[in-house]
């Protein structure tokens, strides 16, 4: 076929894809009985494709995997327990505090102990109270733009999160609710403040929660943070703090 001149690469590639898929692939044995239904337009009695095969799934992969993936905990207590255990293994520091005031005290103590000169923060009901009387400078990451170099010079970034995942010890942050993209990755230390009811079981639960919360209009960035930044590139030896934060503190309120 001769592609239209305007966007020819697109048309050529899509034509190649359509042409390539005219020959149906065999359904893998392991998948055949479990999850793949008849493709539309096939002869159900023989299962042979009449037209191009577009197999449909009767079971979605996440649904099929759910019983077999690592546990996410059935009760809020179990989820909290798993989360704390997983974060510990990832070498994050978890601090559970009863109230937001106690969280403020904890962050104050951290700043004093480590002699932080400047912390970066964003406007959020859980984050703002932490700055009360903090013994160092504060750099706000606002939506009207900020100085990247000044953020780079900050000792720590304080952020909220979307939710925490018990299954993997991950923290989901977004560019809309957690101070944009750089705040949770550029400063040397990342302090996350969350309430215990933000703990969810699995990665799928976290993704569903984010979608519900943003009502179909997802933030331009959603990121699962699983422990402090790390690398094993030198002789496969684990080193924390490759490019992102060297330390991750999770302050759980409630």
């Amino acid at each position: 076929m001769t592609p239209p001149a305007g966007d020819s690469a697109r048309e050529v590639i899509l034509a190649r894809v359509r042409e390539a898929l005219r020959a149906p692939a065999e359904v893998p044995h392991a998948l055949l009985h479990a999850a793949v239904g008849q493709p539309p337009g096939t002869d159900a009695s023989r299962g042979s494709p009449v037209t191009a095969a577009t197999p449909t799934l009767t079971i979605l992969p996440e649904e099929a995997a759910r019983p077999w993936l690592p546990d996410g905990g059935d009760t809020p207590e179990a989820r909290l327990h798993l989360l704390v255990e997983n974060l510990g293994k990832l070498r994050a520091v978890v601090q559970r505090v009863p109230t937001l005031d106690a969280a403020t005290e904890y962050v104050f103590a951290l700043a004093r102990e480590r002699d932080w000169q400047r912390v970066a923060w964003h406007r959020h009901p859980l984050v703002e109270p932490l700055l009360a009387g903090i013994p160092c400078g504060a750099h706000e990451v606002g939506t009207e733009g900020f100085d990247k170099s000044a953020l780079e010079a900050c000792d720590a970034g304080l952020t909220a999160c979307e939710c925490l995942v018990a299954q993997t010890g991950s923290i989901l942050v977004s560019s809309r609710t957690c101070g944009g993209r750089a705040l949770s990755i550029l400063p040397h230390v990342h302090v996350v403040v969350a309430t215990v009811d933000q703990v969810v079981g699995t990665l799928a639960d976290a993704l569903h929660a984010a979608r519900d919360r943003h009502d179909g209009r997802l933030p331009s960035m959603l990121s699962f943070i699983t422990g402090p930044s790390r690398t094993g590139d030198i002789e496969r030896i684990l080193v924390l703090g490759a490019h992102g934060p060297k330390e991750l503190f999770v302050v759980l309120v409630g």
Binding site: A9, R10, I13, L14, V17, A20, L21, A23, P24, A25, P28, L31, A34, A52, T54, P55, L57, I59, L60, P61, E62, A65, P67, W68, L69, P70, D71, V141, T143, G145, F146, K148, S149, E152, S170, S175, R176, G180, R181, A182, I185, L186, L218, P219, S220, M221, F224, T226, P228, S229, R230, T231, G232, D233, I234, E235, I237, G241, A242, H243
Partner: protein, 532 residues
């Protein structure tokens, strides 16, 4: 600095000084012409349909180089031991993480299902992804081949009036030799991933597509940093990592364009997913004004939920982690109400012969690959010949399967024999690609399209002999007597085989002769009883 290319349009030129290259076989100038990364539709079609290509008399340069480098590498036992030791920790952590799954094998079925259904519906899902991605404010650019992709990226850099480019790990960019093209056009580009940065300073391509510098010792890295960054020597991996960290931080802030890869493209939501550990990809996509992502068209998955399966399995299979440190979904440039992020986001969608693999229903599942590298880590061939010997962008078993499709079966079929067919790769694959059988399929396809005349002659002669019992017996008798002579003379064909093996002594009589003499009773294992 993807200098393994014998790419005639891109003379090798680096702005960074080239480091010593003690272990870079396969990177020398004699490789010119071996690696043509352009899309080769005729070669592809030939593979499937027209058995007209004739074998060239001399072995192709890629094959010759493979044999030479493999022989050299196998003798380097220190290096092999070093690579094995580095992988030791991976085995332990991978198994520990796998044990957290309530059943890894069932989870593999589900992961495979997600990718299988997406690859087989690419015609529907790819346009859906693009529509969603563009609705989110990103721009998609289609590239049929490597040259077109390089042109697109260069055009975007020109439009952005880029002065400094920062790049996070992206194997697709290695595949299209992007760095060399950027440097040739005068753009300074810095690899931010620690392993890739080390390889960039060394002037080498990645040794392993997930662990790019796993073959480099810490003292070599210390010397390298001392030479290029002027840092004092150290033998601490931690201190070496901090040197790179300090060096890079300014560069993220100053770069105007960030280039990343993509691990998954989510059709349902139009997001791209990037998996990493160091945080360099997040910084690359956060601070520069323009974000360019480069991805193969096969990375599409249908649903956001599919990532709830694929992300943890990619981390476990690839690096022995529950999740990698950062798994990030991007759906376009900065939105109103967000603090930061790029003003523009571009995605280059690359075909580069992927549709040729798609057109082969038998090997279509090799497009399910999520590039975790698990098959390399368990492969006895990879561990013994090393990553550079392959001479490919994608090393190891999966590279041996797809490279003949990407670069032509005639020149790259030797990789199909770079396997013991033990199937460790197939067992390790989290998305159940039938890797070792595809190596056999490639051997068969090569025999159909570019038969080896000597091999064919050998088979014909064997058939002629085996069909005539008297000739078989005579041939056997002659051969048994000649064997000591063969051992002494070592003729060319046998010499390679004898280099690492002993030829056993020939028995005095043929098997058939022995069988006849012992009689049927012995043969069936029963004592002979007298008839009543």
């Amino acid at each position: 600095m993807q200098i393994k290319a014998g790419d005639d349009r891109l003379p090798i030129r680096c702005t960074l000084p080239r480091g010593g290259n003690p272990r870079g076989p396969g990177l020398d100038a004699t490789d010119a012409g071996a690696d043509t990364d352009r899309f080769r539709p005729t070669a592809m079609i030939t593979v499937m349909t027209a058995p007209t290509v004739t074998a060239s008399a001399a072995p192709p340069p890629a094959k010759k180089r493979f044999l030479r480098d493999a022989a050299a590498h196998v003798k380097d036992t220190d290096h092999r031991a070093f690579v094995r030791r580095a992988l030791g920790g991976y085995y332990a952590s991978r198994d520990a993480q796998k044990s957290r799954y309530r059943d890894w094998e069932h989870a593999r079925d589900a992961a495979s299902l997600a990718k299988w259904s997406a690859v087989n519906r690419l015609d529907e899902l790819l346009p859906r992804f693009v529509e969603q991605f563009e609705a989110n404010g990103g721009r998609v650019h289609w590239a049929r081949d490597a040259e077109e992709a390089r042109g697109i990226v260069l055009g975007l850099l020109r439009d952005a009036k880029a002065k400094a480019v920062i790049k996070s790990k992206c194997m697709t960019s290695e595949e299209i030799h992007l760095n060399a093209a950027l440097e040739q056009s005068g753009y300074g580009v810095v690899e931010s991933d620690l392993g890739e940065f080390i390889q960039q300073l060394r002037g080498e391509p990645p040794y392993h597509f997930v662990f790019p510098c796993m073959h480099v010792r810490r003292d070599e890295i210390s010397d390298l940093f001392g030479k290029h960054l002027g840092t004092p020597p150290t033998d601490s991996p931690e201190e070496l990592t901090m040197i790179a960290r300090r060096h890079m931080r300014r560069l993220y802030v100053d770069a105007d364009v960030g280039i990343t890869g993509a691990n998954f493209l989510v059709a349902e939501t139009g997001q791209i997913s990037i998996t990493e550990n160091e945080g360099n990809a997040r910084l690359t996509a956060a601070l520069p004004r323009v974000h360019i992502a480069i991805s193969g068209i096969e990375k599409v998955v249908e649903r956001l939920d599919d990532l709830a399966v694929l992300l943890p399995m990619l981390a476990t299979a690839g690096a022995g982690q529950p999740m990698t440190c950062y798994n990030t979904l991007y759906s376009g440039p900065r939105r109103p109400g967000e603090a930061d992020g790029p003003e523009e986001m571009h995605l280059v969608l690359l075909d580069n012969a992927r549709t040729a693999i798609l057109a082969d229903p038998e090997q279509r599942d090799s497009l399910q690959c999520i590039r975790c590298g698990a098959c390399l880590n368990v492969c006895p061939i990879f561990k013994n010949v090393g990553g550079f010997t392959y001479g490919t962008t994608y090393q190891g078993p999966i590279g041996s399967v797809i490279t003949p499709h990407l670069r032509g079966l005639a020149d790259w079929n030797h990789l199909s024999s770079a396997s013991s067919l033990c199937g460790a790769c197939t067992d390790a694959c989290p998305v159940r690609i039938d890797i070792h059988h595809h190596l056999l399929h490639n051997r068969r396809n090569a025999a159909r399209t570019a038969p080896n005349r000597w091999e064919r002659l050998g088979h014909r002669m064997f058939v002629a002999v085996a069909r005539r019992p008297w000739l078989f017996a005579t041939g056997g008798a002659v051969f048994r007597r000649l064997l000591p002579l063969v051992k002494a003379v070592r003729p060319p064909l046998v010499r390679d085989w004898l280099a690492t093996r002993d030829l056993p002594a020939a028995p005095g009589r043929s098997f058939r002769d022995q069988w006849r003499r012992r009689g049927p009773a012995v043969a069936t294992g029963r004592a002979v009883e007298p008839r009543p």
